[in-house]
């Protein structure tokens, strides 16, 4: 479903991604781990071109994302993204946050979008918050809304950029639960996270990035039970 070929990203002199190649299958849940500054967020942000790759190619659903002729807005409608800092729109109600994109992109009419949003909000237990503003919600609630907002576009892939890193510890669970259910329903997911428990339990495949290079990948059992790479061994020793 997503094919990444020799992806390289530079910020000026700094080489953040150094020739990363990766293939993500439909229905797969891939968790990306690595020390901070390893390029995992940049890798994720390159997938929907929030960062423009310096070189390399990203092919999504058979369409080259990096081709200048590609309608990037259309491609992004099929890729939901959840951010570390939620990035809800503070000037709109929760319901409006969820319906803005489906309505404006012409995907649904207003009534359908609202019905869809209310159904999804109900599934994460936030139906009664529809008329609230983001500032009135807790961190965990905001992140669940952010997931619903992305799902309202009915995406084929969901990208999660450290979705629990900005949350109070007692709110991490409620967000991870929503993500687990999503994975069980067969959603294709790419998750950058420090939650090793989540990686172990939910991931089909774990990818280890360090220094902009993809150093090791495998099933959670392989990565956590029998890591081969030296850097991965020392990383796991520190975080587990």
């Amino acid at each position: 479903m997503i094919d990444v070929k020799n992806l390289t990203k530079r910020f000026g002199e700094l080489l953040v991604l150094d020739g990363v190649s990766e293939h993500i299958d439909k229905g797969e849940c891939v968790v990306v781990i690595g020390p901070s500054g390893s390029g995992k967020s940049t890798f994720l942000r390159c997938l929907n071109l929030l960062e423009t790759p310096t070189s390399g190619e990203i092919i999504f659903d058979g369409v080259s994302m990096t081709d200048p002729k590609t309608d990037i807005n259309l491609m992004r409608q099929k890729m939901g993204m959840v951010f570390q800092h939620f990035n809800l729109f503070p000037n709109m109600t929760i319901l409006k946050n969820c319906t803005l994109a489906p309505v404006r992109t012409g995907k649904m009419n207003k009534a359908d979008a609202e019905a869809k949003a209310m159904e999804l909000l109900g599934r994460v237990g936030l139906q009664d918050k529809a008329t609230s503003y983001p500032a009135q919600l807790s961190g965990g609630q905001k992140q669940r809304v952010a997931i619903v907002r992305a799902l309202c576009m009915e995406p084929d892939v969901m990208l999660f950029d450290e979705p629990t890193s900005a949350l109070d510890p007692e709110m991490v669970g409620e967000v991870l639960d929503v993500m687990k259910r999503l994975a069980k329903q067969g959603m294709t997911m790419v998750v950058v996270t420090h939650e090793m428990g989540f990686a172990r339990e939910v991931a089909h495949r774990v990818v280890f990035l360090d220094g902009g290079k993809l150093l090791e990948q495998g099933t959670p059992a392989q990565i956590f039970g029998n890591p081969q790479n030296e850097r991965l061994q020392s990383f796991l020793a520190k975080v587990l």
Partner: protein, 245 residues
């Protein structure tokens, strides 16, 4: 009123000056007409300034936010033109701009107030553009990313997400710019615009007594600015009421 050879007290003289400046021959009407022109010029200049400022700010912000390898040549050209515009307008005195417009470019025009309003509007646009641009840039980059990641195009992201949030940051400085604009209308008297200062000087040319006409004009400007500040305060409070933070 005053008969010859009769000594007058200080207070009597003051009263006579006041009477001559405002009441004699209904001269207060001249100030009133001046205020009308002042407000007319302010309104026109404000309109031109805000529209011009908005266009310049959006083009310049859009230009700066282009993705690498997706440079639009038209946007680049407009950006360069607007950069020159902002540089020239901010780099030359208001008075000189008025004289060039009034005595060179529109030398044959007799509608001095309108030429003045146009000049002030063009001048105000340059400052307003930078105020609006600052406001747009003050909105967290994550908001743009969230909008774009949902598949919204640049204009929709601006219109529904960025601009509504930027307005709150922009409003105080924009109010300040409006006040400066209102007071700067006094300059158009140099090209013959018949606004408040023009009226005051008209009275002085009859009475040869400058104190009350100028004090009166200053007082009127002060009242206008205070009313304006009060209205702006109401508007800001209403925006904050919908904020719900």
């Amino acid at each position: 009123m005053l008969s010859a050879n009769e000594p007058v007290t200080f207070w009597q003289r003051l009263y006579v000056y006041f009477y001559q400046a405002f009441i004699y021959k209904d001269r207060w009407q001249q100030y009133l007409n001046g205020v009308k022109t002042t407000l007319f010029v302010t309104a026109i200049a404000l309109l031109i300034g805000v529209i011009l400022g908005l266009i310049v700010a959006i083009v310049r912000t859009a230009h700066d936010q282009q993705r690498l390898g997706h440079k639009n040549w038209l946007l680049g050209l407009l950006n360069s033109i607007f950069q020159v515009y902002v540089t020239v307008i901010r780099g030359t005195p208001m008075m000189v701009q008025l004289m060039i417009m009034g005595f060179v470019i529109f030398a044959t025009s007799k509608d001095f107030a309108l030429v003045g309003a146009l000049t002030l509007g063009i001048n105000s646009g340059a400052y307003t553009a930078e105020i609006i641009r600052g406001g747009l840039m003050s909105v967290d980059a994550g908001q743009t990313e969230a909008g774009r990641s949902l598949g919204l195009n640049y204009m929709d992201t601006m219109r529904f997400i960025i601009v509504p949030q930027a307005v709150k940051a922009i409003l105080p400085s924009l109010g300040n710019e409006f006040i400066v604009l209102l007071k700067d209308t006094s300059l158009i008297s140099v090209i013959g615009g018949k606004e408040l200062i023009y009226a005051a000087r008209g009275v002085i040319s009859r009475t040869y007594e400058p104190m009350f006409p100028f004090l009166g004009a200053a007082f009127i400007y002060l009242v206008l600015v205070m009313v304006f500040t009060w209205l702006l305060g109401i508007f800001e409070r209403r925006l904050r009421a919908s904020d719900r933070r």
